[in-house]
């Protein structure tokens, strides 16, 4: 933890420097791989918040109420007022008309173990049998059959034979909709098949088998088990090991829900069938269930209640079913300190975090992450702790140095018939931290020409003392030290820097490179004068050492350096202004507000109106002038095509001018040009007619 805090602090410092990017890359490489965790208490609490109880005891509709109750059942530890919700369900049950609502009401009642009046339920049973008789699609079968399973005990002796006949027909019809790849069609009308429908069909078929009994149903059970095997053969998988059933195109049409709904529904169907037909008949690999567990856990708690139900229902099934219960391996702490001699602790739980019967957990291998060298542990058995969840191991020994380790575990059960299985090797990562010894710290000022030390001092890293030195540009500053890990091996931290800070706050950062356990840095001031901007005066020397595995990171004030550099020549680069602090350097710049041009003062409306009249005066003058000159419209054609085209021509020009006016008022250029095209064409055609007519007339007059 200390190392992490130090890293964060150092990250801020790195930002200041030019090599911030390099720091970031170094830090990023230490981020651990996200391991799979069972649903934590925080996750469960968050999920419970999704389902809000209303005043009438429901969570919304019948369907939403069942979703909420089932999700809360999986999450456990809910303080629900059963009687209020039972009251809601009872009311809904008597008023519900369709099989879907009845199904959800009865399922919800099953969870809460509500008691109903017998005659209310008997009426429901006959309605459900009728619905099952008239059914044609998978959903038509699914809801009545599922509801009938919930009220199984109310099927009376006399109508049992009738019900059995109906259900046998239903089972045959469901079987007939099955496809060769294990998927199902929703109905005979559908051409596409669906994985989600397969899940519903499996659950419905299992329900029928539980109602009618398994006698003489061998071929049906074989058909269903082979369909399940085919479904699992076509399972899809992600790179992280998650496995899921993909959504088919027909599902997108009918309800949807994506791969989540498809996978959850199939899982439910398979588990229900396994509980009725017996788990031995179904041969589904533990790796498939582990893949499904990864799929449902790695998505985090979903925020939509309907989706959260699908996820939690599936997790509830994975937590407890008659087939396979996948195991999740997680580390309560992935950091082991050599100083406090921590033991490696491993939690083996189900997906919901509950304990398991005793298991045999072994470390198959533990390989240092950075170097692919030999495993330090192999085939070591972990010791089981009280409670059935945790297993511990003395991971730290003299040969375990600080660093990261990739661990591989194997889980086996002493009980060969156990449902609990890990479904493959389990991997995890631990970080071993420890105190790093820093010794032989030496600060020296060396003459550039002779190489002889003008000044030398040794510092004790345990006391973090400071020293004062002075140097000029003809000398070199030499800093050397050694670092060894707790097991006396060379230690190469991620960050080793020397920082020089001038009194004017100009900073220089130098990387110190190791050779074995020896670290050395020589600063030749002659070569560095330009980089130091010819700044003479007091410099603060700081040694910064940090690593994710280092418990004693260091930011050591080595002392002050009085540096005497030559005067800056003409045109030397000046140091940039250093921002007061990082926050202000990266703070948002002040917002630039757009300022619109303010309109200038306009004259009074009367003046403008007066000038409008003045502007129109020349027009009046023009009209009077025309009158004076004796202009007339005698040339205007009086009949036939010429009259039409003359009128059209003038109307065309007028309409174009009107269009220009509208363009000024509201139209945009595109609309205007489009309309102008039509009007222009009309005007050209009519204008051509009338003008050529006039030309003909005038040429006739001339020739005559």
């Amino acid at each position: 933890m200390a190392a992490a805090v130090w890293n964060a602090r150092n990250l801020a410092k790195c930002w200041e420097s030019a090599i911030g990017l390099a720091c970031l890359v170094l830090l990023c490489s230490t981020v651990p791989i996200l391991a799979l965790h069972p649903l934590s208490e925080a996750d469960k609490a968050a999920a419970r918040q999704l389902f809000v109880l209303k005043d009438d005891g429901s969570f919304g509709s019948s369907e939403e109420t069942y979703h909420a109750l089932r999700s809360l059942q999986v999450l456990g530890n809910n303080n629900l007022d059963t009687s209020l919700t039972c009251g809601f369900i009872s009311t809904s049950l008597t008023s519900s008309k369709n099989a879907k609502d009845l199904f959800y009401d009865l399922k919800a009642a099953e969870i809460l173990q509500c008691e109903f009046a017998e005659d209310a339920v008997t009426g429901v049973v006959s309605g459900l049998l009728t619905a099952a008789k008239e059914a044609t699609s998978i959903l038509d079968y699914f809801y009545p059959v599922g509801a009938l399973v919930s009220v199984k005990e109310y099927l009376s002796e006399e109508n049992f034979e009738d019900a059995k006949a109906t259900l046998d027909v239903a089972l045959e019809s469901i079987k007939a909709l099955g496809q060769s790849d294990g998927t199902w069609r929703y109905s005979h009308k559908e051409t596409d098949s669906s994985v989600k429908a397969a899940g519903l069909a499996l659950e419905a078929a299992a329900g029928i088998l539980s109602l009618t009994g398994l006698e003489s149903k061998g071929s049906e059970i074989n058909y269903l088990t082979s369909a399940i095997n085919k479904l699992f053969d076509n399972i899809e998988s992600y790179d992280d090991g998650a496995q899921y059933f993909d959504e088919r195109s027909v599902d997108k049409v009918s309800g949807g829900g994506g791969p989540l709904a498809a996978t959850s529904t199939v899982l439910r169907g398979v588990s229900v069938l396994a509980s009725i037909a017996g788990s031995k008949r179904l041969k589904v690999g533990a790796d498939k269930f582990a893949g499904l567990a990864t799929f449902f856990l790695s998505m985090g708690i979903l925020e939509n209640p309907a989706e959260a139900y699908l996820q939690l229902d599936a997790l509830g099934i994975l937590d407890d079913n008659s087939l396979i219960v996948p195991l999740i391996l997680s580390l309560p702490s992935s950091v082991l300190s050599r100083t406090t001699n921590d033991k490696l602790q491993v939690a083996i739980t189900t997906v919901l975090g509950s304990g398991t019967p005793p298991l045999v957990v072994t470390i198959k291998s533990a390989v240092p992450s950075n170097e692919k060298s030999n495993s330090i542990w192999s085939h070591q058995k972990l010791q089981a702790l009280e409670g059935g969840k945790f297993y511990s191991f003395e991971f730290l020994s003299d040969k375990t140095d600080v660093g990261k380790y990739d661990l591989n575990f194997e889980i086996s059960s002493p009980d060969k018939l156990s449902r609990y299985a890990a479904g493959g090797p389990l991997a995890s990562t631990v970080t071993v931290t420890g105190k790093i010894a820093i010794s032989d710290v030496e600060v020296a000022v060396v003459d550039s020409d002779t190489g002889s030390a003008d000044f030398i001092t040794k510092l004790d890293s345990s006391k973090l003392l400071s020293t004062t030195i002075s140097a000029n540009h003809l000398q070199k500053l030499k800093i050397s030290f050694e670092m060894t890990s707790p097991s006396h091996a060379p230690f190469n931290p991620q960050q080793v820097f020397l920082k020089l800070t001038h009194e004017s706050k100009v900073e220089q950062l130098y990387l110190i490179k190791p050779s074995g356990k020896h670290f050395e840095l020589t600063l030749d001031f002659l070569g560095l004068v330009e980089k130091l901007y010819y700044l003479s005066g007091q410099y603060k020397i700081q040694l910064i050492i940090g690593d994710a595995t280092m418990e004693n990171p260091l930011n050591w004030d080595l002392g002050s350096l009085e540096l005497d550099l030559p005067e800056a020549p003409e045109g030397a680069i000046k140091p940039r202004e250093v921002a007061a602090d990082v926050a202000s350097k990266y703070a948002p710049k002040p917002e630039i507000a757009h300022i619109f041009r303010l309109p200038e003062k306009r004259p009074a409306a009367q003046i403008s109106a007066g000038f409008l009249i003045v502007t129109l005066l020349p027009l009046l003058g023009f009209l009077f002038g025309l009158r004076f000159l004796g202009a007339n419209l005698k040339g205007f054609p009086l009949s036939g095509l010429p009259l039409l085209s003359a009128l059209g021509f003038h109307a065309g020009i007028a309409s174009i001018l009107l269009l220009y006016f509208l363009f000024w008022l509201k139209l945009n250029l595109f609309v205007t040009l489009k309309l102008l095209g039509f009007l222009g064409l009309f005007t050209v055609v009519t204008g051509h007619f009338i003008l050529s007519h006039l030309a003909d007339v005038s040429s006739k007059v001339k020739t005559a």
Partner: protein, 114 residues
């Protein structure tokens, strides 16, 4: 002084008589040019008295008047029978050009008006 007055009077009289023989069609065009120029003048006076804001509107109004006047002068040149340069061009064709140019000019003017 009286002689000069007489001269001016004689000049104006001869100009008037000479202009009297101009065809009526050309006189109409001349009247139109005068009308356009005087509209432009009114706007210039307005600008001088009140100011150019909004400048777009002032400029469009002014250019509309002057542009029309220029186009009308062009029309007059082409329609004038004395002008031998355009004797192959019929007056109808010249009028069609005048209309087209005016429409294009005013499309631009309206766009610029803002």
């Amino acid at each position: 002084m009286g002689k000069a007055d007489n001269d001016v009077g004689a000049l104006v009289a001869s100009l008037r008589s000479a202009y009297g023989s101009t065809p009526t069609k050309l006189k109409i065009i001349d009247l139109y040019v005068v009308y356009a120029i005087s509209t432009a003048l009114v706007q210039v006076i307005y600008m001088g008295l009140v100011g150019t804001f909004p400048f777009n509107a002032f400029l469009s109004g002014l250019l509309s008047s002057i542009g029309t006047a220029v186009l009308a002068v062009c029309l007059r040149m082409q329609v004038n029978k004395e002008n031998k340069e355009f004797k192959d061009l019929s007056p109808e064709r010249a009028f069609a050009d005048f209309v087209l140019c005016n429409l294009v000019l005013h499309l631009v003017i309206m766009n610029f008006l803002g």
